[in-house]
């Protein structure tokens, strides 16, 4: 693990019987950034997060978290907000947050002080003595977010933190995420809202069918350094192209990462000598487009295989 990496997945795989939920995932998440986990439903994002948290053990490979060999060992430095959010209905709001803080090794006094401060910060001070069951959905979600923050974790894992929030509370949560990063914490954000990921994340991984389809900084993923093309020959014609750093072939389509110094027109000429180019796209795509393109291509391939 490099010194600047907060989390490292090393060929981490997880299977449930015959189902491969995560397939040899390798990535390094830098410290102090907002890192996105995006992908369609059932892609393996939650499994990856559970491996990271130590709730599950990988079938093979490993996950290093905050310098520890697994998430369990770094438990008290992680804050986790799962996609399925819940509270103890009969517990008072303040008691719930204090309880979560104490589970994360704060003593009672520290936990109570932090809980009161955060409830005040999130405009929930007047609700601290109410039972959780009396909260609205949005307020409940904020309480759970507060319980994720109460022990001031170095790493936060937020699974769909904006779901069910109104625009005002969405901004509150965004501000909180940004302030955490300013304090040098790392935030792993899983979301289906591409616009949120695009504006918040500095790097991300797109997971589909248990594999990392795209991984890198937001600039790399969206920049013109990536060329998307479609042609009518096999993958071998894309080998050893000048200025091409990597190639990912998906049926007729392929994504090429090119050296920034490489002239895309030279590349097009080289390609035309080898194959018939049907499409050649160097424009900077939105994350939404990239998501649809990458995930949609997999769906097309699967349909073609089935046919």
């Amino acid at each position: 693990m490099s010194n600047s990496s907060c989390v490292v997945f090393e060929q981490a795989s997880k299977s449930f019987g015959d189902l491969v939920a995560l397939d040899s995932l390798s990535l390094a998440i830098p410290s102090g950034c907002i890192y996105g986990f995006i992908g369609p439903n059932g892609a393996g994002k939650t499994t990856a997060m559970r491996l990271l948290l130590g709730i599950m053990k990988p079938s093979s490979g490993g996950v290093q978290v905050l310098g520890a060999s697994d998430g369990k060992s770094a438990r008290s430095q992680i804050g986790y907000l799962p996609e399925e959010k819940g509270l103890y209905p009969r517990m008072r709001v303040l008691d719930f947050v204090v309880y979560m803080g104490r589970l994360n090794r704060l003593d009672k006094r520290q936990a109570t002080r932090r809980a009161r401060d955060l409830l005040d910060e999130f405009d929930l001070k007047d609700w601290q003595n109410e039972k959780c069951q009396s909260l609205s959905k949005g307020m409940g979600q904020k309480v759970q977010l507060i319980s994720t923050l109460v022990h001031d974790p170095q790493l936060m894992i937020l699974d769909e933190p904006f779901s069910g929030l109104d625009p005002i509370n969405t901004d509150v949560v965004r501000s909180m995420i940004l302030s955490r990063v300013e304090s040098n914490a790392t935030v792993i954000l899983s979301t289906h809202i591409m616009e949120q990921a695009e504006t918040l994340c500095s790097a991300l991984v797109l997971i589909n069918k248990g594999r990392a389809v795209l991984e890198g900084s937001m600039d790399e993923i969206r920049s013109g350094d990536t060329v998307y093309l479609e042609h009518n020959r096999d993958e071998s014609v894309l080998r050893d192209l000048p200025g091409v750093l990597s190639v990912k072939q998906f049926g007729r389509g392929a994504t090429l990462r090119i050296d920034p110094s490489q002239d895309s027109q030279d590349l097009l000429r080289s390609l035309m000598e080898r194959t018939n180019i049907l499409k050649f796209d160097t424009t900077s795509a939105s994350l939404h487009e990239i998501f649809v393109r990458e995930v949609g291509r997999d769906v097309q391939e699967e349909e073609a295989e089935n046919a």
């Binding site: 559970r50 986790y80 103890y88 517990m91």
Partner: protein, 516 residues
């Protein structure tokens, strides 16, 4: 405090507080035993009142006056009982009783022979001759015949309190009596054949309710007494001789006394035995009380644990909890929380019911229904220590298994289905309670002591004959090993089960959860 233990205690404390901070908990804890006692009283009273008949019966006498002799025998017993019960304490200030007190009570003590003689002299006036009130016998007979309800109020155990003979006139045939039985005017009627002294094979009792035989049994006692006297007289044997001949031979149960237990200076020349006391006999069965408590705690606790686990899944918080604690810690914490809740219930019962009851009995010993021997038999130190050890192990062993089942199920109904095999296992110790208590060192008890699901129950039930210390420690170690195994298996299922959104497809999948 180690973090591992701190986490378990935090989870336990939260679960305990959540349980005991509701009004329903306190209402249930306080009213539960009261309702249970009330229900037991109602059931007891109902079962007694429905088991015993009350009403009229008739007698068809085909013999030579046996019915009248039996009737006299009944009067004899009732009057004797009445006099013995009321002579000393004539609470109603009945005039004739005051007269009898002067005659039959000397220095505050009843003269039983005089009472018996008085009864014999009264009998002719009861159903036979006209009483004029000239003598005390006649005055008592008149009072007795006219004040039966007062007599029953004073002495409810009199047989006339339940059964009154219906005396049909000569115009009544057996068909008429059958009609009265059919329309429930009569409980039934007896037929005394002419040869009843020789044989009772033709004697019969005709009734509508064929399951209630209390009247027949009651009447049979008096008839037997009369017939037996006639049979004894027929063979010219004195009454006392006859009673001596009929006396049963009985052996008193003794136990061997070890020479070590004899007082200093006692004669060691021959084996010494001691008669077994009632307290010692009760002590044999006293461990059953503990087994009931264990069973109650295991059954109630496990069910609470299982449903609590299913509810925990439904709060969707479990993923957060599992990111803060191991599955084993979460499971241990919940188990400890339920244990604390159950101990609170027991504490409430003890403080608000058992303790006042015990103090009340101490203050008013005349109302005490528990002998000191029985109490000391139940609370023998060996029993208590054995109880605490195996209560803890049994509760934890089954608690883990039920937790695992609860974790793998999405609804209470699924959990009930999947826990059925464990529930069936739990029923067996109750069924075996009596045979094991009767033979605590037998083969069945010995085998079951080493069969982990039953070890705690059998060790408790057979505590009257605890094994030698090395064997006891072996059984304890064996049970500890299995309790650890139960935790290991349960934790593996719990870890995956708590994150499952659907119920397992079957027991094979539960096994797969353990393996993977």
């Amino acid at each position: 405090m180690p973090n591992h233990l701190r986490t378990i205690l935090l989870i336990a404390r939260r679960d305990w507080l959540e349980s005991v901070s509701t009004k329903m908990f306190w209402i249930g804890a306080l009213l539960g035993p009261i309702l249970m006692i009330v229900l037991m009283v109602i059931v007891g009273v109902a079962s007694v009142s429905t088991a015993m008949s009350k009403g009229q019966y008739a007698v068809i006498d085909q013999s030579d006056g046996l019915a009248q002799e039996i009737r006299n025998e009944i009067h004899r017993r009732d009057i004797h009982t009445f006099l013995v019960s009321t002579l000393v304490q004539n609470s109603e200030s009945i005039e004739v009783l005051e007269e009898l007190q002067a005659k039959l009570v000397v220095g505050g003590t009843i003269e039983y022979d005089a009472v018996s003689n008085f009864v014999e002299e009264v009998l002719p006036y009861i159903d036979g001759y006209e009483a004029t009130g000239g003598s005390v016998h006649e005055r008592f007979a008149i009072w007795w015949m006219e004040n039966r309800e007062v007599a029953v109020d004073l002495v409810p155990s009199l047989s006339i309190a339940r059964y009154i003979e219906f005396l049909p006139g000569s115009q009544f045939s057996e068909e008429n009596l059958q009609e009265l039985v059919e329309n429930e005017t009569l409980i039934g009627y007896f037929v005394l054949p002419d040869n009843l002294v020789e044989s009772s094979s033709e004697a019969k009792f005709v009734t509508k309710n064929i399951l209630k035989n209390d009247v027949a049994a009651w009447y049979s006692n008096f008839a037997t007494s009369v017939i037996r006297a006639k049979r004894v007289a027929a063979i010219n044997v004195q009454e006392d001789d006859a009673q001596w001949i009929m006396q049963r031979v009985s052996f008193t149960t003794n136990k061997a006394v070890s020479p070590d237990d004899l007082a200093d200076g006692a004669d060691l020349g021959q084996p010494v035995t001691e008669e077994v006391t009632a307290g010692e006999q009760i002590a044999r069965f006293a461990p059953a009380v503990y087994q009931y408590i264990l069973w109650f705690m295991v059954f109630m606790g496990s069910m609470m644990l299982m449903t609590g686990t299913v509810e925990e899944k439904s709060t969707k918080l479990v993923e957060v909890l599992l990111s803060n604690a191991d599955a084993g810690q979460l499971m241990d914490g919940k188990l400890l929380g339920i244990t604390a809740t159950l101990l609170t219930v027991i504490g409430v019962w003890t403080s608000f019911i058992a303790l006042p009851l015990a103090l009340g009995l101490f203050a008013f010993p005349q109302f005490s229904f528990l002998d000191i021997d029985i109490i000391s038999a139940i609370f023998k130190p060996a029993y208590v220590v054995n109880f605490v050890i195996f209560l803890a192990l049994g509760f934890v062993f089954f608690g883990y298994l039920f937790s695992a089942v609860g974790s793998a199920c999405a609804s209470i109904r699924d959990a009930q289905v999947f826990s059925t095999p464990i529930t069936i296992i739990l029923i067996v110790p109750v069924m075996l309670m009596v045979p094991l208590a009767m033979d605590p060192t037998g083969m069945l008890a010995t085998i079951l002591k080493f069969f982990p699901p039953y070890t705690p129950f059998v060790m408790m039930n057979t505590a009257a004959e605890l094994p030698s210390l090395p064997v006891y420690l072996l059984i304890l170690a064996w049970m500890l090993l299995w309790t650890c195994a139960s935790r290991w298996i349960a934790a593996r299922v719990y870890q995956k089960g708590m994150l499952m959104e659907s119920k397992p497809k079957g027991f094979k999948e539960l096994v797969r959860l353990v393996k993977t």
